[in-house]
Symmetry: C2
Subunit: 329 residues, 2 copies
DNA sequence: CGCGTTTACGTCGTTCGTAACGATA
DNA sequence: TATCGTTACGAACGACGTAAACGCG
């Protein structure tokens, strides 16, 4: 068993069991990978993949277990390299972030811009994914950290650090009757109108849906879209009332009317999620400091060690309070 | 970075920074290790050890971190090999247990004997250690599991499975005044007598000591010894009253008088402790089944995955109830 | 016939052990 | 002077890439 063999194994698994593709990705030749895979299987004494003719067809049950372990090994090897690179004060590196479109578009730019000034040699890779895939990316070791939202409880996998709280807002075209009213709408009023919101709000576990269900109502989702820009566009086009994250409202959106929805929907929390036991490069800590200034460096490192589930992190700011904090820091 | 290099690194760290000794242990030559160590340091770009002349003197700060990660890597590599060996139905293997003398002498023999009948090709290595060292052995990956006692809360490290509860007993020479009495002694009476007990009972956090302190008494520890056999010997010799674990009393101890002490001291729990995320060979599960029949195989595996702290495991037996359970299983 | 895998082969790099050397206490 | 680590060297192994063959859709 070699680290190289394990690396090849993971590359094959991550390339849809296509050895040729995997070989390209690891900058090696296809016969090389084939042979190393065979040798690993010989040493272990069983097949990691089920063959169909000459091709790999599926992962065997035991193979999946081995792959899981191999990922841990490679992650720890990467950790060792990270320790080394930091000690050398190597300013180069990568920051790979898996996140949703909303975060990437509205919440992350400031922190990433700040980072690229302090660490111009660090290349940032944003991996936009659907909600469910974000954590999978992190678990597979394809990214260094994930940024993801949830209503209430933190995600199960990894170590979750609360970055900020946010609320939903209701968005209407400027001439819409709701915009003219002094009072914000009730859930019942909202249920009577066609809504435009995120794809994820269709799922039963969505906090939007649950808010309606709690009072025995069913929202009319006229349309869903993957990102807030699309939602705004279709609200402008008159398809319905938008329900989206407050972060998505920007100074330029003067042609839309925006109403608070704090009284209707529970607050959400955006989390920074890290692999437990992972080693963070110095610039990753800097990014966290930029994105969530209230997270003390020491506390982050302690949380990583898995010391405890830090449920009540002190002073998690609301979205609109973040700018002030960033300036102070 | 190679698995071999990491293995050598750990061997050196575990040999007190003596490369020659480490080389013997890994069945390689000393120059080989020297060179691999140097290459690893070159690749990482910093020293793992502080040199004093030519010899290794201490571990650098970063070196310690790397060693910790390397241990994880080697543990996962061992896990992969364990998966493979189990799949091949390989009946050979090792079972390395770190434990205290009392467990090794009185609690483990039955389970180990049973195991060596089902798996004659498995060689068992008992690593008797002092209380504090047992978990260190497990953490360093020198053993597969630890068996250790505590009063109340489970140990912090790893996954702890409760094996059984036990009480202390008071042991006197047969002609001692206490032996003739109908009533068991009180704490106050006991505090007035010279006691013989375990070394660990000297420590302030010992549950024995705490029981006395809770009522404002200080026991007179006339003598301490590392194991129960010694304590019994010195009780026979009249040095004092013995306070020891009930497991230590055996059918052959007819020349000693034994009194229950349930009413004086809190019950203790003996735990099986495993490294989180470790893969258990089939024979290790069999050993656990023998030693703690109430631990369901499925639950053990679930606990290993780190699903949750299973504080209230159902049906943890008392020591004297274990034989009945073992027969039933 | 293209795609993907295996087999075959030659080259190159690396590791390993032996042996000699050097430093330290 | 004994112990422990480094350097030097030659032999052997193993990994890698190129090229060709094989199977499958």
């Amino acid at each position: 068993m070699t680290l190289v063999q394990l690396r090849y194994l993971i590359a094959i698994a991550d390339s849809g069991l296509n050895i040729t593709l995997a070989a390209e990705r690891v900058h090696a030749t296809q016969p090389g990978l084939s042979k190393q895979l065979r040798q690993l299987e010989d040493e272990l004494g069983f097949q990691l993949f089920v063959r169909k003719g000459k091709s790999l067809d599926t992962v065997t049950q035991a193979g999946a277990q081995v792959i899981e372990r191999a990922r841990n090994i490679l992650a720890e090897a990467a950790n060792i390299r990270a320790i080394a690179a930091d000690l050398r004060n190597d300013a180069r590196g990568e920051l790979r972030i898996a996140t949703t479109h909303t975060q990437a578009r509205f919440a992350l730019p400031a922190a990433i811009a700040a980072l690229s000034i302090s660490y111009p040699q660090v290349s940032v890779h944003l991996q936009p994914s659907r909600d469910a895939e974000v954590l999978a990316q992190l678990e597979a070791g394809h990214v260094d950290l994930a940024v993801i939202s949830s209503a209430g409880t933190p995600p199960i996998f990894g170590v979750a650090l609360p970055a900020y709280h946010w609320q939903r807002v209701i968005v209407t075209p400027p001439r819409h009757p709701l915009a003219a009213r002094a009072q914000p709408p009730s859930l019942a009023e909202l249920a009577a109108l066609p809504l435009v919101s995120y794809e994820s709000s269709l799922k039963t576990e969505s906090s939007l849906r649950r808010a309606f269900e709690a009072v025995g109502l069913t929202p009319q989702i006229a349309m869903t879209a993957g990102d807030a820009d699309l939602i705004k566009t279709y609200v402008r086009a008159g398809l319905g009332i938008g329900v989206l994250a407050e972060m998505a409202m920007q100074p330029g959106d003067t042609d839309l009317h925006c109403l608070p929805a704090d009284h209707l929907f529970a607050a959400c929390t955006t989390w920074i999620v890290l692999r437990r036991e992972s080693v963070l490069r110095e610039y990753m800590l800097e990014f966290i400091r930029q994105f969530a200034p209230h997270l003390e460096r020491r506390e982050v490192i302690r949380a990583l060690a898995g010391d405890a589930a830090i449920a009540d992190w002190p002073g998690v700011p609301d979205w609109h309070a973040r700018d002030a904090l960033a300036v102070a820091a």
